[in-house]
């Protein structure tokens, strides 16, 4: 069985959604506190979405300083940053580039069409600073079909295969349940599972 860890920072708000999604796939899921060093083994570690530290100073800026992030088992365990988690990973320089304000300067919350593994999928996006700039060597795994926020090359998600780190702005954990009318997020979680 897959063992997933979800790091919770002060202000994080998608940890329970992410846990619910992991549990839908039958994964054994637990929270990791921001001020604990990661010692245990996990198959995958999520940095979930939400406004860690209120996005004060800049999104992801303060979360990157926490013991949990500093002790991430880079290269050993698959690490997945979603939304604010992606911002934290770029701030920590674990992924290249940076996420700045959306082109229209506003928060954007909608169901976006995304290009993923050769098909178009529908997943919610909800962010204020999702405008991706300055890609490095990572593989692009998710692209906005219509450039929602001004990102270079319509980039919505990247994957550093060597270090096993994924970062994405869209929220696949919000598109799992039939009851909510969106299920394409399952494809992203299946991809994650295959990369473990």
């Amino acid at each position: 069985m897959v063992k997933a860890g979800i790091i919770t920072f002060l202000g994080t708000n998608c940890e329970r959604d992410t846990k619910r999604a992991c549990e839908f796939f039958g994964w054994n899921t637990e929270f990791i506190k921001h001020n604990d060093k990661i010692k245990e083994h996990y198959d995958v570690i999520f940095l979930p979405g939400g406004f860690s530290y209120g996005d004060h100073i800049s999104s992801g800026r303060i979360a990157k300083l926490t013991p949990a992030v500093k002790s991430l088992p880079v290269g050993k365990t698959l690490i997945v940053g979603i939304c604010n988690g992606f911002q934290i990973l770029t701030e920590a320089k674990l992924l290249s580039g940076a996420l700045t304000y959306n082109e229209n300067i506003h928060f954007i919350s909608k169901v976006a069409d995304l290009e993923f593994m050769g098909e178009t999928i529908k997943i919610p996006i909800a962010h204020h600073q999702g405008n991706y700039t300055g890609k490095g060597g990572e593989e692009v795994i998710l692209r906005y079909k219509y450039n929602e926020n001004g990102s270079d090359d319509r980039i919505a998600g990247i994957y550093d295969r060597k270090n096993k780190i994924i970062g994405m702005m869209p929220h696949p954990e919000r598109a799992i349940f039939e009851e909510l009318g969106l299920t394409d997020g399952r494809k992203v979680f299946e991809f994650i599972k295959n990369e473990i």
Binding site: I62, L65, E91, A98, Y101, N102, G150
Partner: protein, 81 residues
């Protein structure tokens, strides 16, 4: 121990697009005609604290700038005492 005060200015590097500045320029154009308008937006932090001496104070401020106030991928900073 002595009290030190520094002002840190953080701004986007020249090459990075400054969305807030673009929005500001648009907002200005919406209320009045201004020619050749060019804006840049940054953050300012006034920081006061105690340190043994100037050298220690500089070390503290540098750490704060590098670790918290700026992201070297897109931003640069300037310290004034």
């Amino acid at each position: 121990m002595k009290n030190y005060k520094a002002t840190v200015n953080v701004k986007l590097k020249e090459a990075v697009k400054d969305i807030k500045a673009q929005t500001l320029e648009q907002a200005v154009h919406n209320i009045m005609p201004v020619q050749n308008l060019k804006c840049r937006v940054g953050n300012t932090y006034n920081i006061g604290f105690d340190a043994k001496n100037k050298k220690e104070a500089e070390k503290i401020i540098n750490t704060i700038c590098e670790e918290i106030l700026s992201n070297s991928v897109i931003e640069e900073y300037e310290i004034k005492w």
